[in-house]
């Protein structure tokens, strides 16, 4: 089983230096691209590989690139941004890549920038990833020194500058347009789409924002081809995926596996099953903003289509396991507290609705809940849906809530009936 993204990442080891990375075949993809491929060919290749964005939305990466205006009349400069603001609760897959092999990301970024002919690139990094920041800073310096960044890279007539930007710690910055505002020095509120960043992004110029894991796939696709990449997968989405499991399992962690392994394999094999004395009550398959799935769903494939069909989303592919000793009301309250606090305050439903939801859940958890509260919560899960709010934060927040009410209704009712939490 191939693990292209993590093959050179080993626990407890320092990140690969440029020399080490080159020794593992690093920067050969970039040389290949600069020497033999046109930007259009790179876009085509990535599109054919069926690489889908690993940030959670699952949009075809090559397709996303194809919306960037190309040619001499295209606005300039164009920007390529790596979204490394990994803040989804339960998610730590990008951290693995950033801390383990930063040059892999940098090479992916240079190729992506070449594909859209961007001359400026940023890594927007979560503030708390101090180790990653150090590694990236060092690696970017090395890449400049080796001529992989800067003016006229490899005499191929393509120039790219790369900057590391560490955020100030807002979940909202993971949303690509809020990230752009933050990068511009503005408040991290999202932007209305359209216009999409591909057309009017950072500083009003064409911009691509890709997730770290997405970008790390690029060098391998170039090196080994689209067909190879597709064949890595058990499903129609190409490639491997870094899956993660957290919660009361024996062996929490993250593993690079073929796209489309089953949830059962993840939990039982890789995570070593539930800790003794705990039963699996539910999982959030792709981070805090995805719907709960339960034991009955364990055999579904962890790919974009199958998880959606089961009523949730693959999201970041890093699942949070809820055990039977954890109160679902308290669990969801904890999530809603996070989302309410991370709301940017721009649009009314999210700004005012999430704190209300949080307060109701806390009241229920504390035994002050009323029967009508369930109706109010359900009303919020409906009205804070996509399109009603300005961005996807509140709709994401409603996913675990609506599914918790669906699967654990009896827990909610019991809190209200008994006026206490019996966990």
């Amino acid at each position: 089983m191939e693990r292209p993204l993590t093959q050179n990442i080993h626990a407890g080891r320092q990140p690969l230096t440029l020399k080490e990375y080159t020794a593992t075949g690093g920067y050969t993809a970039l040389q290949q691209v600069l020497k033999n491929m046109t930007p259009g060919e790179v876009q085509q290749l990535v599109q054919e590989s069926r690489l889908k964005g690993r940030g959670g939305a699952g949009f075809n990466t090559g397709m996303k690139w194809s919306f960037v205006p190309m040619g001499e009349d295209a606005p300039s400069p164009k920007y390529l941004i790596a979204n490394a603001d990994e803040m989804e609760p339960g998610t730590f897959k990008d951290r693995l890549l950033l801390e383990g092999n930063p040059h892999q990301l940098i090479e992916g970024m240079i190729i992506a920038a070449y594909a859209i002919q961007a001359n400026i690139s940023y890594v927007f990094l979560r503030w708390a990833y101090k180790k990653a920041a150090q590694a990236l800073e060092q690696s970017i310096r090395e890449a400049y020194h080796a001529g992989w960044l800067g003016k006229n890279i490899m005499n191929a007539g393509f120039s790219l500058d790369m900057y590391l930007h560490t955020g100030a710690g807002r979940y909202m910055c993971g949303e690509e347009t809020a990230l752009l505002n933050a990068l511009e020095g503005k408040r991290a509120t999202p932007r209305a789409k359209p216009p999409f960043p591909q057309v009017s992004g950072l500083f009003g110029k064409p911009t691509i924002v890709n997730n770290v894991e997405t970008l790390c796939c690029i060098p391998h696709i170039v090196n080994k081809g689209a067909a190879w990449f597709q064949n890595l997968s058990y499903s129609e989405d190409g490639g491997t995926k870094i899956y993660g499991v957290s919660g009361k399992v024996n062996n929490p962690g993250a593993w690079e596996l073929p796209m489309g392994v089953t949830m059962r394999e993840l939990v039982e094999e890789h995570a070593g099953g539930m800790k003794k004395g705990y039963r699996l009550k539910g999982v959030l398959p792709g981070g805090a903003s995805t719907d709960f799935l339960t034991e009955q769903h364990l055999d579904i494939k962890m790919d974009f289509k199958s998880v959606t069909a089961a009523g949730s989303r693959l999201g970041t592919g890093t699942m949070v396991v809820m055990d039977d000793a954890t109160c679902p009301v308290g669990f969801v309250h904890n999530l809603q507290h996070f989302f309410a606090q991370e709301s940017c305050g721009w649009c009314t439903p999210c700004r005012e609705g999430l704190p209300w939801v949080e307060k109701i859940l806390w009241a229920i958890e504390e035994g002050r809940g009323k029967e009508e509260d369930i109706e109010l919560l359900q009303m919020h899960t409906q009205l804070l849906g996509p399109g009603n709010t300005f961005c996807a934060l509140a709709p994401g927040a409603m996913e675990p809530l609506q599914s918790a009410i669906k699967y654990y209704r009896e827990d909610f009712d019991r809190h209200i009936r008994e006026k206490k939490c019996s966990y």
Binding site: P195, G204, G345, C347, T348, E352, K359, N388
Partner: protein, 901 residues
């Protein structure tokens, strides 16, 4: 035109608009908060949700924010859809989770967009049972009261304050449900447009602090359409009264003039009307008991105006009616302007140039639409603030318009356009004596001496057409480059505007502005010109073409037994004090009509209380030549306070001993003015006859909810008094009258069923942000005409050079402080910057003085001492002193003075 279906009914609508403005323009009620017609859409509040359907078969539809969707031909939408309605109601419930239920004690109550929208959506029951979040309020200065708990986070305040008006000391702080709109720390708001927050805020976060001191609900105000008196732009205002006191000023929308916004001097300068400094009783100072009644004073005046030769001194801040009534009383040859020869000369030049019809005198709206703006010499931020705001919009809109043309972005999509445009701006060259906040958005900002500004103007004109205007000799390399840069931008413009004015006391600048505007005017390019004048009716007075003060001085000295009538004019504001003293000494009898006591009224033998604008009907001509009428807001209880034109008419009636044929009402005075002075042709057309009625009904000044009519005076008499009779206008002092939308110029308030706040103006517009539905005739006294011959000025002034030991004295205008009347508003008084003398760093160093040192200006026998302030960008050889400050007389502006340190 595209056709869209709203709830299955087809409507022909305008392309390029969003669904919200389209629905409102069609007359639908659709609630909104964050959208503003002057600021566009950002999609934050989610209040204007509607359903949009794919096609006729689609029954589910998609919820969208109507402010964020463009009109498309064939589009089907529903306002009444139950999901959309439920969502809109829910948005209000969300907003209400934290909004205090303090309407009864909130200044916004009854004039609150949030109240209106709440009722509109039907939300009425509170389900949120938890504590509300609370905030600490801030002290924001004397103009704005801050009450953050009421905030519904629509972001309009910061979008107006920062993006629209260019302020930087109000911002949004914090996040999630604890965002805060205020300053980084307590302190007076710095923008001169801060008062607009009162109207921009949909609820009571920012309220009028001056109104708070003598608070009255909107429904209890008697209001009239009026015109701002504090500069030459003539912004349209609504003034409100209760219990004989002027209570507040709000904006009166006029798409061609001020649009939605006023400056703070205009909004808050009104309190002079209630000032203790008012002249309230006729005084005959030669009598042992000076205060007299109307009959006595008229009898006395009759003798004075019959016994000796009479001359009249007019006023740039009195109405056309009053100035003309004085001219009629004293005779055309005996009527003078009460302003200095220099200013009168410059104003006369402007009138002559605009009267040629060769250049186009532009409105504020046209300035806002300009793509390239050149300001020559005038500090418009201080002398014509709303023009500065219009220039700022021109600069910002030019880039936005280009963005709309280059991309598929819609013009209303404010957020997307701002992202796309970033720091791109239209071209503005701001060439002034002293730096201005407008420089922040200028492409070229240069501080120069007036002669150099004029030379730069001539150099630009020469570059535009070398045959018409000769080159300017001796330009520096830098000046030549600047001229080339500006000329290039002007040449590439489609709608350039050149702005200049009187405040530099420099004729060359006025000529240069004219040259440039004239040269730019081509069939494919409509160029405009705007001259800024000092006072609200400076243009009207200048157009009367009466001789200046110096001629009056000669007459008075020659006759030596003159009776002089001074109309609403403090000579000491315009004429250096020695000369004013000299003039008054030579008057045999001095009769003064004025609103406030001043140095001139103090020396009057007969002092007559004149009505302020709030107690008067009158007509003003603004800087553009636009004729605008203001209507009486209330009749003063003291019936000795009358419009000057009424007093002067009465005197004339007594003098002539006849009443027939003499004008009585404003419309009649204007008709007589047209006959006497043909340059005022059409001036009477803006004012309807005083007998004008709609369906036999007058226009009520009191809204349908006016309360207390039977109770207000119950402590005096329990029987309801007869309503006051206004015989001079179609407006009436009652609630009864024409219930529909009156003609725009006679609109006393904006109010519609369901729309109690000022946002009701939507309902008065044919199209949101466009012209008012009942727009009546607008008259500009300057009309552009076809020309066969163009005259260009070729005489550029010589290069300015500092003189040994002498400095060119120029006025420093301050928005707060230079206004003669507004300074008697206590709120404004608090904001007046310290009076100081300004010198360049170089001159200060040569004189060996530092900031704060006492510096004395000396000219002949005049000495004037003030603390020094050093300005680094000021040109050497120039000294600036505050203009029009209380207690600081007129100085010999434009003269070379000495400095004693």
């Amino acid at each position: 035109m595209p056709v869209i279906y709203i709830d299955n009914k087809p409507y022909e609508v305008k392309a390029g608009k969003n669904l919200l403005e389209t629905s409102l323009s069609l007359g639908f009620d659709l609630p909104y908060f964050c959208w503003h017609p002057a600021m566009g859409s950002v999609g934050a509040c989610r209040q204007c949700a509607v359903k949009v359907f794919k096609d006729e078969q689609d029954n589910n539809g998609r919820l969208v924010m109507s402010c964020m969707e463009s009109v498309k031909d064939g589009l089907r939408m529903s306002i009444t859809d139950s999901t959309a309605k439920a969502f809109r109601e829910q948005v209000i419930e969300w907003l209400m989770t934290n909004h205090p239920h303090d309407c009864p004690v909130c200044d916004e109550g009854g004039n609150c967009h949030l109240q209106d929208m709440t009722v509109m959506t039907g939300h009425d029951y509170r389900r949120f049972e938890f504590k509300k979040r609370t905030y600490t309020n801030q002290y924001l200065g004397p103009l704005i009261h801050h009450e953050m708990n009421r905030c519904i986070q629509c972001y309009r305040c910061v979008r107006f304050y920062r993006d629209y008006a260019g302020g930087d000391d109000l911002d949004v702080f914090g996040a999630h449900n604890h965002v805060y709109f205020g300053r980084e720390q307590d302190g007076a708001l710095q923008s001169p447009f801060s008062g607009n927050l009162v109207e921009v805020c949909p609820t009571g976060v920012f309220t009028d602090k001056t109104l708070k001191k003598h608070y009255t609900r909107k429904w209890d105000l008697t209001t009239s359409p009026s015109i701002c008196q504090h500069c030459s732009l003539g912004c349209n205002i609504i003034a409100g009264e209760r219990y004989g006191q002027l209570r507040c000023i709000v904006n009166r929308y006029n798409s061609n003039v001020n649009g939605y916004f006023l400056c703070d001097k205009g909004r808050y300068g009104y309190e002079f009307v209630n000032s203790v400094n008012r002249v309230t009783i006729p005084l005959i100072r030669t009598l042992p008991v000076e205060a007299v009644d109307e009959a006595t004073v008229l009898g006395h005046l009759k003798r004075l105006v019959t016994d000796s030769p009479v001359i009249g001194i007019g006023s740039p801040r009195a109405s056309m009616e009053s100035n003309f009534a004085l001219m009629q009383l004293v005779g055309k040859d005996n009527f003078y302007q009460g302003i200095s020869e220099d200013t009168a000369y410059l104003e006369r030049r402007m009138v002559e140039l605009l009267q040629t019809g060769a250049v186009s005198s532009v409105s504020l709206k046209e300035i806002e639409m300009a793509d390239v703006v050149l300001v020559l010499g005038e500090d418009i931020w201080n002398t014509a603030p709303v023009m500065a705001l219009a220039v700022r919009q021109a600069v910002m809109k030019t880039a936005a318009t280009q963005a709309v043309q280059q991309t598929s972005l819609a013009a209303w999509h404010d957020a997307a356009i701002k992202e796309f445009v970033q720091n791109e701006k239209g071209f503005l060259a701001n060439i002034t004596v002293i730096a201005s906040p407008l420089d922040a958005v200028s492409t070229v900002a240069v501080q120069e001496a007036p002669d150099h500004i004029a030379r730069l103007g001539f150099a630009i004109a020469h570059l535009l057409n070398a045959a018409a205007v000769p080159p300017v000799p001796g330009l520096t390399e830098q000046e030549a480059l600047t001229a080339k840069h500006i000329a290039g931008a002007l040449q590439g413009a489609k709608r350039p505007v050149v702005i200049s004015g009187t405040s530099c006391y420099n004729e060359g600048i006025i000529k240069a502005a004219y040259n440039i505007s004239l040269l730019l005017n081509r069939p494919q390019r409509k160029a405009g010109i705007a001259y800024v004048l000092p006072e609200c009716n400076s243009m009207g007075l200048a157009m009367m073409k009466a001789p200046p003060f110096e001629a009056a001085m000669q007459s008075v000295k020659a006759a030596n037994n003159c009776t002089v009538i001074i109309l609403e004019n403090d000579l000491y504001r315009h004429i250096p004090e020695g000369r004013a003293d000299d003039f008054i000494r030579h008057c045999k009898n001095l009769i003064v009509l004025d609103v406030l006591h001043n140095r001139t009224t103090a020396q009057a033998q007969v002092l007559i209380p004149a009505a302020s604008f709030a107690e008067a009907d009158g007509t003003l001509v603004n800087n553009e030549g636009r004729v605008q009428h203001f209507y009486q807001v209330y009749m003063p209880a003291n019936n000795c306070i009358k419009e000057s034109w009424k007093w002067l008419g009465n005197i004339q009636t007594m003098k002539a001993a006849i009443t027939n044929g003499l004008p009585h009402h404003p419309d009649e005075w204007l008709a007589a003015l047209e006959t006497a002075l043909p340059q005022f042709q059409n001036i009477a057309k803006v004012t309807p006859p005083h007998s004008f009625r709609i369906n036999g009904q007058p226009i009520p000044r009191e809204p349908h909810r006016y309360s207390g009519r039977t109770a207000m005076l119950a402590n005096i008499s329990v029987s309801e008094p007869r309503p006051l009779q206004d015989n001079d206008s179609p407006l009436t002092y009652t609630m009864e009258g024409y219930p529909g939308i009156p003609p725009a110029s006679m609109t006393p308030y904006f109010w519609m069923p369901g729309w109690n706040s000022g946002q009701a103006v939507n309902k008065y517009q044919a199209e949101t942000g466009g012209e008012l539905r009942e727009q009546d005739r607008q008259v500009c006294l300057f009309q552009q005409k076809e020309q066969d011959f163009f005259h260009f000025f070729k005489d550029s002034p010589e290069s300015f050079s500092a003189r040994q030991g002498k400095y060119l004295l120029l006025p420093q205008y301050q928005l707060f402080g230079s206004g003669e009347l507004s300074i008697y508003s206590t709120a404004i008084e608090e904001l007046v910057p310290q009076a100081c003398i300004i010198l360049s760093a170089k001159d200060a160093a040569e004189l060996g003085v530092v900031n704060g040192a006492s510096v004395t200006i000396e000219k002949n026998d005049l000495h004037y001492t003030l603390p020094l302030k050093i300005h680094h960008e000021l040109c050497s050889g120039i000294i600036l002193a505050p203009f029009g400050y209380r207690g600081i007389p007129a100085l010999p502006w434009g003269a070379w003075v000495k400095i004693i340190v």
